[in-house]
Structures are given as structure tokens and as C-alpha cells.
């Protein structure tokens, strides 16, 4: 006997279906079903997963695409797609229903039903006679709809009633009856999970769900034998007959790229070639070597074979727009491995500088679309998005979805709530569980947190949490992955509203897009690009030579810039500015571009957990000979001194050393990316180790490699990615060294971005002997500017820094500023600025050139009577008016006001004030540490600006102390922190008595001994530390 299930919801029917599409198709196939329809509620989000599983596992089952809808309380139905036309129709109906509603909701209209022409309509009668009669008659009036009655037998005590009702409807209206289940689970074992999901959906606990829950597990995939016993033969025969009509497969979806990109008279191939040839002239003005020519030809041939020309041309078009608009951009990711991308000006990495391997970008064997991520200036990315919408229209453009799945915390909490645990207890437990603890698994930790793992309900909590992990929760918006098509996108995939206004997303995520071979364009935002573009604009205004990224990279590796990098003088630059990167710089001593590529990739949890950093440093300094187990391995690892540092190297090692095929290596790559989610990486463990030992490699080498792969998973950095980042890192360092004022101005104007606050950036600028002027109503623009005073470049801080002053008001202030500047407050009053904005200006001391001290000025502005029209300007601001306040701020109060108004002070540092007030003779300041002997005892004092406790550092906390001269790095061992916990956690101003530890490379750390809380000295001076626990 044959059977096809035509009504089945996967876990993409959020909080309803309890099995994944893959589990459903695998089980249905195992049970011998001929076909399975995945019919999620107003969604096709799960079908690609089912399709992927069938294709990969070569399952002998047909996938039918459909969707379940609830029109209202009286009508629910399933639409199934027999052909491509029906699929497009379904996508249109879902799109319309979704677009009418808020994110995550849908609203069908009767019009949607009337327009059904191609889909098969499986009506699920409600069982209420009057309503069903109404809808049966309505459906009869619309003969274009091919109606079937979907009969469900659920053994819930109502089957007799239902069957009688189906028979009555069939005999009255002649709609054929088909058998269906309405599957929600692939196996009856999933019933508890389904109950938990349902309880979560209705915001209650399983104890309370009562009759709204499923009474049994009959809504699972049942054996065909059982189906035969449950349904009349005729109905099953009808089902099978209907299922024969479905011929549509997702393979039929042919994605058409917008054709308008290719001018008349060109083929996509010829046009792309022409663009590349044009690019060669720009990128290689001196001509190209035979080797590069060969690479380009090879790439172009492969692109033509795979028909990816439109994809390259689309991105080319977008970056050309960015170029025209002077929006800085840079391609990254595996695209950096392509010379064609370099010639099309998509990427900036000169192929001569890194080991280019185009196969990593596009591979015939992998047969997957190329991944080109382009970063744009974060402040101007919206212009690019609007350009895409404008050029292709909103019908043809949408952003890819991201499927938000249950992670540990959300799963634990939802299951816990459903099982009746109190929310406060769950909150407490979730906060206390240390998922990083590799010694005690989280389940065992529960015992110490008041939950006894022996108790049945706690066991249920553990098991169901495990089951819920990875279950989709809702769809969200991808950071910037656009899908653009030739025709309306809703013919291809349903489109729905995103949370952000005027944004729409498709129902598939990046993996689905990849599976179906669709191409997406990643339009991402990067703050450093804004800063670099701003710096270039400032420089180009002053000098005839046009500075740009290619201009700087072409100058080659600059010794002085690398000297600065080796000194770790990298506050504010791209990527190598963090505390961990800065402490590595003097050790790794980068001297050329490729060293930066390594530097960026090596300070990552992947290489650190894989124990690759130390061996690399030893070998780099020539303290250890490098031996390779084979020539193949040498080829892969020689550029990184025999230590695998990049993700690509690990993949290549799997291929050359363990004999993985390209396809297997690709699966390994995917498993690496998601091993925390599904642990699929362990499927490869034995194969990898056996493959290597078979090839004669040492067993230890094989095990080590697997551990390294695990370490990389999720955190590994691809070389191509690092190469692109290294360009920006180098360019930002170059700017910082040669044009520091322009660099800081650009950085401050691009803020928020990067690792440091404006206050820290200004402190760094001052350490580089740059004069910084506080905001002033007569000197500042809205933004920060570069000013030249006595032939000296200075930073003039802008009015945007003043808290409480709107951008419009500051623009108004600048626009209406008289040539000689404002001379009294009344002129500012006349600009109709709000009084609180004037007060903000006064407190920031921005009115210092036209009024008295900031207290008096604010006091005068606060006076509401002087704003009355009967007072004239002179009368308003007589000395008598201000005499009531006889207070002038002290240095400390000025500093306090600076921080309160602008978040920084250009005139003073809290530590310099403290130096005046306290006897601090025995304190060593940051600039004097270099003169101290290694291992000598020192006392240092500073504001705590950072507490960093990386998971990779085994309980050590790195404190950053800032004094008025510079930063100091303090290492606090776990035992020290525990012994002096109060001070360690609370102090904002800290004195550390410790021992200097200076590495061979000159990196200075203070190993904390005694911690003394000096916060009371600060009193009101508020310096918030950035804690990273």
C-alpha cells in the first residue's frame, strides 16, 4: 500500500511543529511514504531544509511544497503546489498575507482565496455545521479552486463525529475526501517537546495547558499499516491519486539575475571581460605578468562555466555607485582570493601580496555560489541600500532572513517555565551556569544551584532543553545580505515584513539560498571605512596628491609605520587596537603586510584554544627548526611557519593529509561553522584521523589536527578575510603615523566605532603632542575639525560632543555665526535655541569667549524673566543680575563639568588633579615604567578603564589603568582577585603595588600584589570603566 502525507508542519511553524524538516523527510522515507508535503503555517521557510536533506541523503521520497493557513476561526486549509505556476501563486499569497501584518503575523483576505488558480486546496472543515456549510457553498461558487476535503483521524474521541461530517459534506457538495494527519512530529517521542512549545506559545505551563494541548501523539508520522487501519480505503486512494499530480521540484527554481546590467550588444561574458580589462589598466598600470594573466583567464573561464557573470557585474555596479558617491568600501571574505574581484575594484588586496587560491572562492567541485562581502562606510551604508532599492525596485529586492534558533539560555528558560519552575529561579540558574566550564558540564552544575538532577522534573528540564536547542524560534533580518532577481521576487520566494520599517525579508536564510544556488550580495557596514574616508578628505584638501587606499598600499611596507606598530602604538587603528592585539604586537613584531595578516588572525580564540600562538612565535624568532611531516603539508603550512593559523589551511590539510574530497572538505567547513549548534563535526573525527594515519601520518599529529579544527570552529579566521582587514589595519596605521591630526579628527567624527571612547582617543592624541581645543561656540563646527594655529595642526572639538545639544541646533549655531563670532548670549537667544540647550553650552564651557565662568553663565541663562520681551538686551545681562551667584568652579569642578557635559576633558586629567592634592612621590607613572628594573616592585595608580577576563585566559583578569600620561597593563591572578575581591570589583581609581614583568620584546605588565582602592579620592569625578566579564 502506498501513502503520501499532504499536511505536515515542521518546526518552522514556530512554537507548533516539534520536528525539523530533515527529521520529517528522513522518517517519512523510512516509513515508506511516497511523498511528504511540508506545509508550514503561511511559510515555506522549512522546505529548503527538507529538500537539502532529500538531495544529500538521496532519499526515495517526493517533496511536495505547500503551506497551511488559518483564514479565521471557521476556515483553515492547506495549499499544495503541483507545478511552478502554483508555487509562484503560493509565494504571492504568502507574501500578500505577510505584508499586510506586523512582523511574524499574517492576515489572509478573501481576495487571496478568490485568486487561487493553480494550487490544490485541502479544506480542513471546522466541524461546525453552519460555518462549514457557508464555506462549502462559497467554495462551490469558485470553481477555479480545486477543493479536497482533508480528513483527519486523531483518536481524540471526536473521530466518529468528524467522519460523519466529512461524509455528509462529500455527499452534499461532491468534494473528494483525502486522508491526512496534520503531522507535527516525526515521532511520537516528540510529544513532550510539542507540549512545551505549545505551553510557551500560550504563555502557560504544561500543568495548565489542559485541553488546548494535544491529547495524544497521533499527530506524528504513522506507519502505513496504521494509516490503512484508520482511514477508509477510498480516502487513501484519493490521497495517492492527488499526490501523483505534484511534479514541482525546487530544482526548477531558476534564478534570473537582473539583465539590465549588460548593455546591448554584449553578452554577460563579453561585458565582464571588458570590465576586467578596464580594471587591469587601473590596477596594473605597469602591465601584468603572465602568471596573473593566466590566473585572470582561469577565473573568467570558471565564472563563465558557472554562469556567475551577472553576480560579479551586480556587485561591480554597486561598488561603482559607491565610488561615484565617494563612499569608501572594501570587499572581503573569500572574494579577496580573486584577481577578477581585484580588477573590478571590489577588493583591495593585491593578489601579489597573498597566496591567491581562486578555488577557495569558486570551486567547480563545490558547486556553490561565491561569497562576496562588501563593507561600506557605516555612516553611509543606507545610501547603498537605497540605491539597490531604487535601481531594482522593492519587488525585486529583499534582505535574506536569519533564522533565530533556541540557544541554551532561551531553551532552558522556556522549558523551565513550561515545566512550572519559577522565573526567578530560572534566571538565577541561567546566570550562574558557566557554559565555558569544560570540566563540569552544565547538567552537573545544576546540582550546586539548587536543582537536583535526580529529580524527574529536573531530568525533564535537562532532556527537553537539549531537544529544544537549535529549534527555530523566529525569522530575523540578515545583517546585509540582499537577494536581487530579474522578476518579482515573490515569484521565487515569499517576502515578509522585517522589524525595521520599510525593510522586507525573504523566508529563506543564507544556507537555504546557498542550497538553491541563489546569489546574495552582502552589503555590510564598517566604521573604520568612514574614518579612513574622512581622513582622506582632510588630507586631500591640503595636499595635491590624492590619498587613497591603493595609493597607500602601493607605497609598499613603510618601516616607520611598522616601527610604530611594533611599539603597539595602535590606539584607534583597525583591528590591532585591542588590549590582546596590542600586547601581541611587540612579540610578533610585524614588519610587512603579510605579518599583519597573521597578526590579525592569530589573536583569536581559535588559534589560542588550538595552542598555535606560542609555536608560531618561537619559530618566527628562529628559536625552533620547522619540520614538516610531508611535502604536501609543507606546501599548505610553509607561509605560516608550519603552524595552521587560517581556516583555509585547516581545510586544505584535511584534503591533502586525510584525503578528504572537495565535497567532504566543504561539509567539514559547514560542520565547523555550526558545531556548537549541532555537534556534527564529531562525525568527521574518525574519518579524519583514520585518513591521516592511513597516509602514514603520526597519530598524535592527527589528533592534534582534529583538536585544532575544533578550536577553529566558530572562531577561526579565514586568510582572505584577514588579508582584507590587514589592508585597512595598515592604512589606518599609516594615517595615524603620517597624518595623526587628520586621523584623530576622522576617527572622532566617525564615532561610535572601535574599541575606545572619545575621551581615550583624545588622551591618546595628547600623548602624541597634539593640541586639542575644547568645544567653543565661536570656533567649533558641528563636527570635529582640523584647525591650523601658528602653522600647527590642532584638533578643534565639535559641538556634537556636547550632551543635550541637538544636531539641528548646533548646525543653526554654526550657520548663523557672525563673521566676528557671537559677542553675547542674547544673540544665541535670538536663534530660538531651547534654554536647556543653552545651558548645555554653558556647562560645556563653550560660551567661555562671550561670558563669565560656566556657573555664572548657566545661572544667567536659567533666568526665565530675562527672556521676556519687555526686557531689553542690556538690562538682561547687567552685573547685578549675576551677582546673586558668587560661586566660581574650582579645577576639580571644571573637570567634573567637562566630563558631565562632553564625556572628556582636554585641560585636565583626574590623575593630574590628584597629584596636586596628594603626596604621590612613591607612585610610578606610566612613562617611567620603562626605566624600572624587571622584577622590581612598583606602585602604580590610575583610573580603571578596562577589566577584561577572556575565556581563554584561565581566570586571569587584565586591568587597564589610565593615568594622565598613558595606559598601564595590570595582570591580576585569580587568587589575588579572590583575596582582594572587594577592591578588585569596586575600585574605579586603583593603586596597585606589584612587580614589573618585562618580556624580551619590551612588553611591560604589572603583576598585581596588593590592590588599594583610591576611589574616595575621586569623590564625584565619574569615570566609568568598561568591564568585560
Amino acid at each position: 500500500m502506498k501513502y503520501s502525507e499532504l499536511f505536515c508542519q515542521s518546526n518552522y511553524s514556530f512554537l507548533c511543529g516539534a520536528s525539523s524538516p530533515a527529521e520529517l523527510v528522513t522518517t517519512a522515507s523510512f516509513l515508506g511514504y511516497e511523498a511528504l508535503a511540508i506545509t508550514d503555517e503561511c511559510s515555506v521557510a522549512g522546505i529548503v531544509r527538507a529538500f537539502d536533506e532529500i538531495t544529500h541523503q538521496k532519499l526515495p521520497i517526493k517533496l511536495i511544497v505547500g503551506s497551511y493557513f488559518v483564514f479565521d476561526e471557521t476556515l483553515s486549509f492547506v495549499l499544495l503546489c503541483p507545478d511552478k505556476a502554483a508555487y509562484s501563486e503560493l509565494c504571492r499569497i504568502i507574501t500578500n498575507a505577510r505584508r499586510r501584518s506586523e512582523k511574524g503575523e499574517y492576515q489572509l483576505a478573501e481576495w487571496d482565496l478568490r485568486t487561487i488558480r493553480h494550487c490544490k486546496f485541502i479544506w480542513l472543515p471546522s466541524g461546525k455545521e453552519t460555518q462549514d456549510k457557508h464555506w462549502a457553498e462559497w467554495l462551490l461558487k469558485h470553481p477555479s479552486i480545486d477543493v479536497y476535503i482533508g480528513a483527519q483521524r486523531l483518536l481524540d474521541g471526536r473521530d466518529h463525529h468528524r467522519f460523519a461530517h466529512y461524509n455528509a459534506l462529500q455527499s452534499t457538495y461532491s468534494f473528494p475526501v483525502i486522508a491526512c494527519t496534520g503531522v507535527l512530529m516525526h515521532h511520537a517521542d516528540r510529544l513532550p517537546l510539542q507540549h512545551v512549545l505549545h505551553a510557551t506559545k500560550v504563555h502557560t505551563s504544561v500543568d495548565e495547558i489542559g485541553r488546548s494541548a494535544l491529547s495524544n501523539a497521533e499527530r506524528s508520522l504513522r506507519t502505513i499499516h496504521k494509516i490503512k487501519k484508520l482511514y477508509p480505503e477510498k480516502w487513501v486512494a484519493n490521497t495517492n491519486a492527488l499526490s501523483q499530480l505534484f511534479t514541482f521540484s525546487l530544482e526548477e527554481l531558476r534564478y534570473q539575475y537582473p539583465a539590465e546590467l549588460v548593455p546591448k550588444g554584449y553578452t554577460p561574458t563579453s561585458y565582464l571581460r571588458e570590465r576586467v580589462e578596464e580594471g587591469i589598466k587601473i590596477r596594473f598600470p605597469e602591465g601584468i605578468t603572465t602568471e596573473i594573466r593566466q590566473t585572470i583567464e582561469k577565473e573568467l573561464t570558471l565564472i563563465a562555466e558557472q554562469e556567475y557573470e551577472y553576480f560579479f557585474l551586480t556587485i561591480y555596479d554597486i561598488v561603482q555607485f559607491a565610488k561615484q558617491q565617494r563612499i569608501l568600501y572594501q570587499g572581503r571574505g573569500s572574494a579577496a582570493n580573486s584577481v577578477v574581484c581585484y580588477c573590478l575594484e571590489i577588493t583591495a588586496v593585491d593578489p601579489r601580496q597573498i597566496s591567491v587560491l581562486f578555488e577557495r572562492f569558486i570551486s567547480k567541485e563545490r558547486n556553490e555560489p561565491p561569497d562576496i562581502d562588501v563593507d561600506f562606510e557605516h555612516q553611509r551604508r543606507e545610501e547603498i541600500i537605497q540605491y539597490i532599492y531604487k535601481k531594482y525596485g522593492r519587488e525585486r529586492t529583499a534582505i535574506a532572513a536569519t533564522v533565530i534558533c533556541y540557544r541554551f539560555k532561551s531553551a532552558f528558560k522556556d522549558v523551565g517555565k513550561a515545566l512550572g519552575f519559577s522565573e526567578s529561579q530560572l534566571d538565577f540558574v541561567v546566570k550562574q551556569i558557566n557554559r565555558r566550564d569544560s570540566v563540569i558540564p552544565w547538567k552537573s552544575q545544576l546540582a550546586n544551584l539548587g536543582l537536583n538532577p535526580q529529580e524527574k522534573r529536573v531530568q525533564q528540564l535537562i532532556n527537553l532543553t537539549e531537544s529544544l536547542l537549535g529549534t527555530p524560534r523566529h525569522l530575523s533580518q540578515h545583517v546585509g545580505g540582499f537577494v536581487i532577481s530579474a522578476g518579482p521576487l515573490y515569484d521565487l520566494v515569499p517576502v515578509e515584513n522585517a522589524a525595521m520599517e520599510a525593510r522586507t525579508i525573504i523566508q529563506w536564510d543564507k544556507d537555504d539560498i546557498e542550497t538553491l544556488g541563489l546569489l546574495k550580495v552582502d552589503v555590510l557596514a564598517l566604521g573604520m571605512l568612514s574614518a579612513i574616508r574622512r581622513a582622506f578628505a582632510l588630507i586631500n584638501k591640503q595636499y595635491p596628491v590624492q590619498t587613497s587606499i591603493p595609493f597607500i598600499t602601493k607605497l609598499g611596507d613603510d618601516k616607520q609605520v611598522f616601527d610604530m606598530i611594533c611599539r603597539a602604538d595602535t590606539v584607534g587603528v583597525f583591528q590591532i587596537e585591542s588590549r590582546a592585539q596590542m600586547s601581541m604586537l611587540p612579540r610578533l613584531k610585524p614588519r610587512r603586510y603579510y605579518d599583519l595578516v597573521v597578526q590579525i588572525a592569530i589573536v583569536r580564540p581559535g588559534p589560542i584554544q588550538g595552542d598555535m600562538v606560542h609555536p608560531y612565535l618561537i619559530r618566527r624568532h628562529g628559536n625552533e627548526t620547522i619540520e614538516y611531516p610531508s611535502k604536501e603539508v609543507e606546501k599548505v603550512l610553509s607561509r605560516t611557519m608550519g603552524v595552521p593559523i587560517f581556516q583555509e589551511q585547516v581545510i586544505q590539510l584535511a584534503m591533502v593529509a586525510a584525503g578528504f574530497s572537495g565535497g567532504e572538505a566543504d561539509q567539514l567547513r559547514r560542520a565547523m561553522a555550526s558545531w556548537k549548534k549541532d555537534g556534527r563535526i564529531f562525525e568527521f573525527r574518525d574519518k579524519l584521523i583514520k585518513g591521516m594515519t592511513d597516509k602514514g601520518y603520526d597519530n598524535t599529529f592527527a589528533h592534534n589536527l582534529f583538536e585544532q579544527i575544533k578550536g577553529f570552529a566558530g572562531y577561526g579566521f579565514p586568510e582572505s578575510h584577514s588579508a582584507s582587514f590587514a589592508v585597512l589595519a595598515y592604512v589606518s596605521c599609516w594615517l595615524k603615523f603620517y597624518f595623526p591630526v587628520e586621523f584623530y579628527v576622522a576617527l572622532l567624527n566617525s564615532w561610535p566605532m572601535g574599541f575606545y571612547t572619545p575621551s581615550q582617543l583624545v588622551q591618546d592624541a595628547k600623548r602624541h603632542n597634539i593640541h586639542v581645543e575644547a568645544p567653543c561656540v565661536n570656533k567649533s563646527d558641528t563636527e570635529h575639525t582640523l584647525v591650523i594655529v601658528n602653522q600647527e595642526k590642532r584638533i578643534q572639538l565639535g559641538l556634537k560632543l556636547i550632551k543635550g545639544l541637538s544636531e539641528t541646533s548646533s548646525q543653526q549655531l554654526v550657520k548663523n555665526r557672525p563673521n566676528k563670532g557671537y559677542v553675547n548670549i542674547e544673540q544665541l537667544h535670538q536663534l530660538s535655541l531651547k534654554s536647556n540647550e543653552l545651558e548645555a553650552l554653558a556647562s560645556a564651557d563653550a560660551l567661555r569667549t562671550i561670558s563669565g565662568n560656566r556657573y555664572e553663565t548657566r545661572w544667567r541663562i536659567m533666568d526665565t524673566q530675562t527672556r521676556l520681551p519687555l526686557f531689553d538686551a542690556e538690562e538682561k545681562y547687567t552685573d547685578e543680575n549675576i551677582s546673586t551667584l558668587n560661586v566660581s568652579p574650582s579645577d576639580a569642578e571644571n573637570l567634573l563639568e567637562d566630563y558631565a557635559s562632553t564625556g572628556l576633558s582636554v585641560n585636565n586629567h583626574p590623575i593630574s588633579l590628584l597629584r596636586q592634592q596628594h603626596q604621590l612621590k612613591d607612585i610610578s607613572w606610566s612613562n617611567s615604567l620603562v626605566t624600572k628594573k624587571n622584577k622590581s616592585v612598583v606602585k602604580v595608580l590610575g583610573a580603571v578603564t578596562g577589566r577584561q577576563a577572556p575565556g581563554t585566559a584561565a581566570g586571569v583578569t587584565f586591568l587597564t589603568l589610565e593615568d594622565d600620561i598613558g595606559n598601564m597593563n595590570v595582570v591580576v591572578w585569580q587568587s589575588t582577585a579572590r583575596a582582594q575581591q572587594q577592591i578588585f570589583l569596586k575600585a574605579k581609581l586603583l593603586q596597585v603595588n606589584g612587580i614589573i614583568e618585562r618580556s624580551k620584546e619590551g612588553v611591560i605588565h604589572i603583576i598585581a600584589g596588593k590592590l588599594i582602592d583610591r576611589t574616595p579620592w575621586l569623590e564625584q569625578i565619574s569615570l566609568n570603566s568598561r568591564d568585560f566579564h
Binding site: S215, R858, M862, D863, V887, A900, Q982, L985, K986
Partner: protein, 487 residues
């Protein structure tokens, strides 16, 4: 005018300490020689009161302070500083209850009391100037009041000044000195920072940003200058602070019913362990009734929990009573069969109906059958036998036939929730022993996996040769059982 402001800065903590001491004493008395320590905390435990609304510690005992915990810390910081700290949740309503109880206690001594309960702490203002001549001067009056306060075992700071507003600033400043002359009050106020005033935070910030940070600076400023810069509310407050105006206040009036709230020093899991706390409450009630020459026949005890709604235990007595001895056995009977849904955090005793003692209701035996009405009978039965002793059927929200018909006292409706539900359902199914014929089914139940005994059954309606319809089921081991009977 002269007002004293009593700032009770740790009412929750005080209540906790009192109850802890009492429990310790109770166990010492009742369990001498037995190795039974109860579940109370030692007094040396660091204890903090945490307000989740603002995520701050709002009260902490001295032991917690020595561990480095300070008021204003977040819970995470407190837990990091002292992992074994005992955390009590802050409940605004509970604090108000405790403040009201204190006011009740002081009311016989001072008539003009103003309750001032705000976000995280509360206080009482007591007008003193109109009482001095009753007490024969400032000193005896103040002595009487402080005596009552110390008997209440409440920790406080106080201040005295010409208005409540000014007295409160001094109390917050922990001035704790009785002053009654204008100069002394002014001097004391001058030393206070502006942050202690009740000015809006925005106003305080505005003033700080022109360098005015102390009350003295503010009081020295001409009012008209301030009037040009701040709104009326601010100016009104300032004049009250100066003692130039006296804002109208609502005086405390004691309740005409008994309502006593007690925060438990620790979470009590076993209802039997609530007895010492309820006894304490009943003692208060007994004092209250005797002072007024009243009796009552109805007492309500509310047990409060962290998450679950409060449990209401109504105790009715056929005879009006007042003594602890009479009420306690009824309470003990009542709770015999009760189980707490989760650990109790507080106990509240309320009494609304009182009866005066007169000769007519002095003898209950003369007409007792009329007096003890049906409801009272049910009440007494319930008290003796537990709530489940008298019941009526009700349809429940469950697939399980066992739970489909539940019982609840005094609910008149009776409805079937399922068309297959039998007229009578057996709590415990009986084995099917007679031959039957299936006439409906199956109805498969696979549910309640979260209970100890999950259900996996196929239900049928079966008919006996005598045409009796039974609800029967087959269990996982293919055994047949009768679950109910159709009439």
C-alpha cells in the same frame, strides 16, 4: 511648629531580625534537649534587602557591610562580594504595612502622625509642639516616644525641625539630635548636602551645575532669584524647608479593623512551622481585642509567597473568642491537611468582624441550633476535616478522565467538559471483570508525562450484557480497567 521625622531605614531587615530572634527562642523553649535547630538563620548571617525594581541593595545588616556590601550595590556585585549573603526581597507594600503598624503603636502617644512611605524607605513625622504641655516639656515627650520606638525594635534616624520637609532632611542626614530652637535647626540644616532634599533630581542637577550643592547655599539664595529660575513646586518646597510655609498634610487615622503583617525571617516550606509566627499574630490580635473589650468569630490568615498568589485561610468559630488558646487549636486543625505551594515569605492576620460582649450572646447553649447555621457547620467541618471534606463537582480543563471532574466547595455549576465523560468517574480505576461489548472508541490518551505516572491508554465505551455503559480503558500492558459509569 515642631516636627520630628523618624526615618525607618531598614524596616524589612528589622522585621527579619525580630522574627529570627523569636524563632530561635521558640525552638530553644520547645525543643530543649532535642537536636532540632529549625530552619532559622543564625543572627551572624549577612543579610541584604534587594529591590528588583531598581536592581539595588536597599538595606543591609552590619555583617553584610563588613563583607563590603553597600546600599546601592547591584545583586551581582553583592553576590560577588559575599556569595553566601542571604537576600530578602524588598516589597513596598510590606514596608508600608510595617510602617502602619508602627504608627498604630505610636498613635496612643501622639495624635498628629504623618505616614511618609516612598520608593525604598519610609518614615513617620510626628508633630511635637502641641504635645509638650501634655507631657510637661520637650524632654519627657521625647523620652516617651523614643521608649515606644525602642520597644518596637525598629532602627531609625531622626531629625527635628519646623516643618516635616526640614525634619526629614535632618533625619536623612542622620542628625539624631533633638533640637527645638530656630538657630540650632538652621545650623543643622546648613550642614546638609542638597542631595538629601526632596527636590526633583533635575532641579538638584541644575543647581549642582551652577555650583550650588549644599542646603546652606540654597537657603542663602534670595527666593525671588530662585523664583525666576525654578517652578512653583520647587519654590513651595524651598519655603517649607525654610519654615516659611507649612504644606497641608494628611494625618494618620488608625484602622477600624485588625490587620497585622509579619515578614518571615526565612522561607518556610512546611506549614506546621508557621505556628510560632501565627501564634505571635494571634497574641497581637488578643491584645487588640482585649483593649477594646471585643470578641470575634472570624479570623483570616493570609500566607504570602514569592511567586504564587497568597493562600487565604479563613478560620471560623461558632463561638466568638478572643484568646490565643481558643484560636490556635482551630488554626492547627485547619492546617493539618494543607500543603504550601511554595515556601511562605510572610503571614498576615486580618480580622474585620467584631462582637461586643453582652449578656445576650453570653450563653451560646440556649439557642445553639439556630446560631450554628449550615455555613458555620461547613466551616467547622472544613476546619476539622480539611477543605476537601465537603465538595461539589465541577468540570476541569484536562484530557484526563480522573481530573475531568473535580470537586470544589460551594460551586453550584456542574458540567461535563467532554462528550465522552461518564456520569461517575472513579478516582481509582477498577479491573474490568465482566464481559462487555465495545460500542465507541478508541480514544487514545498519551499525556501527563510531566507527572510521576504518565498516561498511555486507549479508552472505549463498553456495554455490559445488562446494558450498563462503562468507560473502560486498555493500558500499556493490555489490561482492561473500568474508569467510569454512564447513567
Amino acid at each position: 511648629m515642631l516636627w520630628a521625622y523618624i526615618y525607618c531605614y531598614q524596616l524589612t531587615l528589622d522585621s527579619h531580625n525580630r522574627a529570627t530572634r523569636r524563632t530561635a527562642a521558640h525552638y530553644q523553649e520547645s525543643c530543649v534537649g532535642a537536636n532540632h535547630k529549625g530552619s532559622s538563620l543564625p543572627l551572624s548571617t549577612p543579610v541584604v534587602v534587594y529591590c528588583s525594581k531598581i536592581n539595588k541593595i536597599v538595606q543591609c545588616n552590619d555583617i553584610a557591610k563588613t563583607e563590603g556590601i553597600e546600599i546601592g550595590h547591584g545583586l551581582a556585585q553583592a553576590a560577588a562580594l559575599c556569595p553566601y549573603v542571604h537576600v530578602l526581597p524588598f516589597n513596598e507594600e510590606n514596608e508600608r504595612h510595617m510602617l502602619t503598624q508602627l504608627a498604630h503603636r505610636l498613635y496612643p502617644l501622639a495624635s498628629d502622625i504623618v505616614l511618609d512611605s516612598h520608593a525604598c524607605a519610609g518614615g513617620l513625622a510626628i508633630r511635637l509642639d502641641n504635645l509638650t504641655h501634655y507631657y510637661g516639656g520637650h524632654e519627657p515627650l521625647w523620652k516617651t516616644l523614643t521608649q515606644a520606638l525602642s520597644e518596637s525594635d525598629v532602627r531609625y534616624h531622626f531629625g527635628c525641625a519646623w516643618t516635616i520637609e526640614a525634619a526629614k532632611v535632618l533625619a536623612l542626614q542622620k542628625y539624631n539630635t533633638y533640637v527645638c530652637t530656630r538657630d540650632d535647626i538652621k545650623k543643622a540644616l546648613n550642614a546638609c548636602p542638597l542631595s538629601l532634599t526632596a527636590l526633583a533630581p533635575k532641579v538638584i542637577e541644575s543647581l549642582a551645575r551652577v555650583g550650588i550643592t549644599s542646603v546652606q547655599q540654597l537657603l542663602d539664595m534670595p527666593v525671588q532669584e530662585l523664583g525666576r529660575r525654578f517652578d512653583n513646586n520647587t519654590i513651595m518646597y524651598l519655603t517649607a524647608l525654610r519654615g516659611e510655609t507649612f504644606p497641608r498634610v494628611t494625618l494618620f487615622r488608625p484602622l477600624e479593623r485588625f490587620d497585622n503583617f509579619l515578614l518571615l525571617p526565612f522561607d518556610v516550606e512546611n506549614i506546621q512551622h508557621l505556628t510560632p509566627f501565627v501564634t505571635q499574630q494571634l497574641e497581637h490580635l488578643s491584645h487588640y481585642l482585649r483593649a477594646r473589650n471585643l470578641y470575634t468569630s472570624n479570623v483570616a490568615i493570609y500566607i504570602q509567597f514569592r511567586e504564587a498568589p497568597p493562600m487565604n485561610i479563613e478560620i471560623q468559630s461558632a463561638l466568638p473568642q478572643s484568646s490565643v488558646k481558643s484560636w490556635l487549636p482551630l488554626f492547627t486543625l485547619k492546617i493539618e491537611n494543607l500543603v504550601l505551594p511554595e515556601p511562605a515569605t510572610a503571614v498576615e492576620l486580618k480580622c474585620h468582624q467584631f462582637e461586643e460582649i453582652d449578656t445576650h450572646n453570653g450563653d451560646f447553649f440556649s439557642d445553639r441550633f439556630n446560631d450554628v447555621a449550615q455555613k458555620q457547620l461547613i466551616g467547622r467541618l472544613n476546619a476539622k476535616l480539611g477543605d476537601k471534606s465537603t465538595f461539589q463537582p465541577r468540570a476541569a480543563n484536562s484530557h484526563q478522565f480522573e481530573y475531568m471532574t473535580v470537586t470544589e466547595p460551594n460551586v453550584p455549576e456542574y458540567a461535563y467538559a467532554c462528550d465522552t465523560a461518564p456520569t461517575f468517574t472513579f478516582d481509582v480505576p477498577t479491573p474490568l471483570t465482566q464481559p462487555t461489548q465495545i460500542c465507541f472508541g478508541p480514544l487514545r490518551l498519551n499525556s501527563e508525562w510531566w507527572h510521576d505516572r504518565p498516561t498511555k491508554r486507549d479508552y472505549f465505551i463498553a456495554q455490559t450484557p445488562q446494558s450498563v455503559r462503562l468507560l473502560v480503558f486498555k493500558d500499556e500492558e493490555s489490561r482492561w480497567w473500568v474508569q467510569g459509569l454512564f447513567c
